[in-house]
């Protein structure tokens, strides 16, 4: 680790004033953990995970109606639209046009439910089904179109700083770079690019929400993301597919809090060599070279 990197990682102290809220499109959140609702073994387990995690925002997907799940139930029976901000995604869309249609469908459904997330969309425009990484060109096109149509666009992005900047310039409400590919559990694999994104998007605009979306595997990954200065973490698989999703949801809650507090505290710089914690004067032994 070089000195220049260690200086960069030494974050400025952020004044802690009362509630540590963050804001998306004028909506304040006390919880910095956004959870996805996919891949759970049961709706009951999902609901309990959301309770334990104390999340206030939940992502959902738009799919062709088959009326109900196999047991005749709908997800909305388990996620109260009056309690949670529902953030509809455009998962599974591979071009701007389809993603825009999908976003409009999500908005139409949520308007009927009087949910604050009605005009919000977690915009995913994917490049291929193996990596599930975004197609930046189509993503930018879709962002421009949806912003013009009054959407609050939260963009699932790659960790490319220039793409992130272009998305913000196009009017994205939040840019949400992937820590690593969706569902991979690889955690935060490109800290340097993510730090560049944070510095760039928050330059002169410190309240601009930048959220890590995807890739985290466990609580320490979430803590790392928050220590870097992200406003929140959005995750799904790491909780839903854990052996004990409810306990992992709790771990993620603490991971977010630990990382956030550490970020606000201003960590020490890294150094290649030791720095003694005990006084170096008055030692009774002869000093070893």
């Amino acid at each position: 680790m070089t000195d220049s990197i260690s200086q960069e990682r030494c974050q400025p102290v952020v004044a802690s004033t009362g509630l540590d809220e963050f804001c998306i499109a004028g909506h304040k959140f006390q919880s910095r953990l956004i959870l996805g609702s996919g891949k759970y073994d049961s709706f009951e387990g999902m609901r309990e995970s959301f309770e334990v995690a104390e999340t206030q925002c939940v992502t959902i997907a738009v799919r062709r109606e088959r009326l109900h799940d196999s047991s005749g139930r709908n997800i909305l029976d388990f996620v109260d639209p009056k309690r949670f901000v529902l953030l509809p995604n455009t998962a599974g869309c591979y071009d701007a046009e389809t993603a825009v249609r999908c976003a409009k469908m999500g908005r139409e459904i949520l308007r009927g439910l009087e949910n604050p997330g009605a005009d919000w969309v977690k915009l995913e425009v994917l490049g291929d089904s193996r990596s599930l990484l975004p197609d930046p060109i189509e993503l930018l096109k879709a962002t421009e179109t949806l912003v013009k149509q009054g959407f609050q666009v939260l963009c699932y992005s790659s960790d490319d700083p220039i793409v992130a900047r272009r998305l913000k310039d196009a009017g994205a409400t939040s840019v949400m770079p992937a820590g690593s590919p969706i569902g991979s559990g690889l955690g935060i694999i490109n800290r340097n690019s993510l730090q560049i994104i944070l510095e760039d998007l928050k330059h002169g605009d410190p309240q601009y929400p930048v959220i890590i979306d995807a890739g985290v595997g466990t609580a320490s990954d979430v803590a790392v993301a928050m220590e870097l200065g992200f406003d929140a973490v959005l995750l799904n698989t790491a909780v839903a597919r854990a052996k004990d999703p409810i306990r992992m949801a709790e771990a993620m809650k603490y991971g977010v809090r630990a990382g956030r507090l550490a970020y606000q505290s201003g960590r020490i710089p890294m150094s290649r060599y030791a720095s003694a914690s005990s006084p170096e004067v008055g030692v009774i032994s002869k000093r070893n070279p």
């Binding site: 738009v62 799919r63 062709r64 109606e65 509809p88 409009k104 469908m105 999500g106 439910l113 969706i182």
Partner: protein
Amino acid sequence: MIEVTINGKKQACEEGLTIVKLLDSLGMTSRAIAVEINQQIQPRDTHCLVEVNDGDILEIVTLVGGG
């Protein structure tokens, strides 16, 4: 009778049905539904006015778990 495509499947249905009546006939009465006809979203408050025409392609969607 007319023929429409609903969620990728061709189906026969009565002529002159509004979206509301079509949804009723399909047993889709949930409020958590959006309808698109020929790639144009159909706002909920128009569902009792807009009629389905021969050859229309409909997408009827709802919310499911997702990340």
